[in-house]
Symmetry: C2
Subunit: 70 residues, 2 copies
């Protein structure tokens, strides 16, 4: 499942550790999410979307989703 965490974090000049702290998770969790190693829990996904001022649907993309290609 793809996401835009890395891009949004970089736009804000945050380190993975700083983002993790702001969200109440470890830096390894942020790193794993950015690397697509696994999907966040629903509460964490909502917290992430809120933190970046966007929505869960904008931040995370289902595999069947296709993306903004067409």
């Amino acid at each position: 499942m793809q996401n835009d965490i890395r891009r949004l974090r970089a736009e804000r000049g945050l380190s993975q550790a700083a983002l993790g702290e702001a969200l109440g998770v470890s830096r390894q969790t942020v790193n794993s999410l950015e690397g697509g190693r696994y999907d966040p829990s629903l509460p964490l996904a909502i917290s992430l979307a809120r933190y970046f001022g966007t929505t869960v649907e904008e931040l995370f993309h289902l595999p069947e989703d296709g993306g903004a290609r067409g």
Copy 2:
């Protein structure tokens, strides 16, 4: 974590089993989600929101959210 699954399902006249089948999960999963026994995974949450024509943020409410109380 609260959600509006039961209400939306009832509005459509679906059984828990029918909804589960439409989403690719078991009826026990639907039952547990409605009963608030646990939160869905992120992919399932997105699928649910889509199925009901709403958003994850509308369908699921963080505990700190307060709700429509004031």
